[in-house]
């Protein structure tokens, strides 16, 4: 844990509408390709950013796909 603020954020979560884990998985590839294209991914997939902030596993899965689709697959 990195300090009081991070702990409070982890406990309380995003506090705004968010996707479920299943919907997150369904939309993750579209969201990542929009991010890589510099488009407004959150506008296209509302609630994704909040879910990625609130769900550590989905957050990890997103970071991994973003990194691999951008750099790792070259």
């Amino acid at each position: 844990m990195t300090g009081p603020r991070a702990l409070v954020a982890a406990l309380l979560g995003p506090g705004e509408p968010e996707l479920t884990c299943d919907a997150c998985f369904d939309e993750l590839d579209r969201y990542v390709d929009l991010e890589l294209a510099g488009a407004d991914a959150e506008r296209a997939v509302p609630g994704m950013r909040a879910h990625l902030a609130g769900c550590p596993a989905c957050g990890e899965d997103h970071d991994s796909l973003l990194e691999y689709a951008r750099d790792g697959s070259q």
């Binding site: 406990l11 579209r30 596993a57 691999y68």
Partner: protein, 231 residues
């Protein structure tokens, strides 16, 4: 058999054609769908190429998380990547009809390989470990390392949160919240141990967080900006 790699799982007859509109696809994605939808040698060759692609992605994920897997030997890493690529290939061929063409085909495919590898790695790293679920194992103020003098406001909020966790949540909500947010238990590992799904556990976590926000607001705390979702 994939050229130059391990065996490719046999999944003949299980694949479905994609419903992605052809004119919405980039050229590479269209080619993938045409080749995978073909029959005979063209199909087999496309499946082998796809397996190679998935294996590279799974190896990337294993390498990325290597530090959390110090107890695994090198051969275990590659076995895990192979299993992940195999499982991802089966899932992709079964779900080809769900591909809508809203991303590149390769990004959609990588998602399955990285997910399979991540789930297996999270499970492996918690294998044979007790899950820290008991309420005695947490103390928010100790976990945050917050000194009252330097973080007076946060200290007060953490004290209120500790009371709300004890009083406002059900035993199951408390167990899930503490395991995932304080003790770092991955949600898919917890779901497997509790014989439930990742989605069902996240709903429990979400409901617990809503209750905590309500309890803190009732105590006069402004927590509108406290979460991680705001940009």
């Amino acid at each position: 058999m994939a050229p130059g790699s391990g065996t490719v799982p046999h999944v003949a007859g299980e694949h479905t054609a994609s419903r992605a509109p052809a004119d919405a696809l980039d050229a590479e994605s269209r080619r993938w769908l045409e080749d995978l939808g073909a029959s005979g040698h063209a199909h087999d060759e496309a499946v082998a190429r796809l397996h190679e692609l998935l294996l590279r992605a799974a190896r990337f994920e294993v390498a990325r998380r290597r530090r959390s897997l110090a107890h695994l030997r090198g051969g275990d890493h590659d076995d895990l990547a192979q299993q992940s690529a195999d499982d991802a290939l089966v899932a992709i061929l079964r779900k080809l009809g769900d591909f809508r063409g809203e991303s590149r085909f390769t990004t959609w495919a990588y998602k399955f390989a990285l997910y399979e590898a991540a789930v297996k790695l999270r499970r492996r790293s918690w294998q044979e470990r007790e899950l820290p679920l008991e309420p005695e194992s947490w103390s928010l103020i100790a976990a945050a390392g917050a000194s009252p003098a330097e973080h007076a406001a946060e200290h007060e909020l953490l004290g209120a949160l500790e009371v709300a966790i004890a009083d406002a949540l059900s035993a199951h909500q408390r167990e899930v919240l503490v395991a995932i947010t304080l003790n770092g238990v991955p949600i898919d590992v917890l779901a497997e141990r509790l014989n439930t799904t990742r989605g069902a556990l996240y709903k429990t976590l979400h409901d617990a967080r809503k209750k905590l926000r309500r309890a803190l607001a009732a105590d006069g705390f402004d927590v509108a900006d406290a979460g991680g979702g705001q940009a």
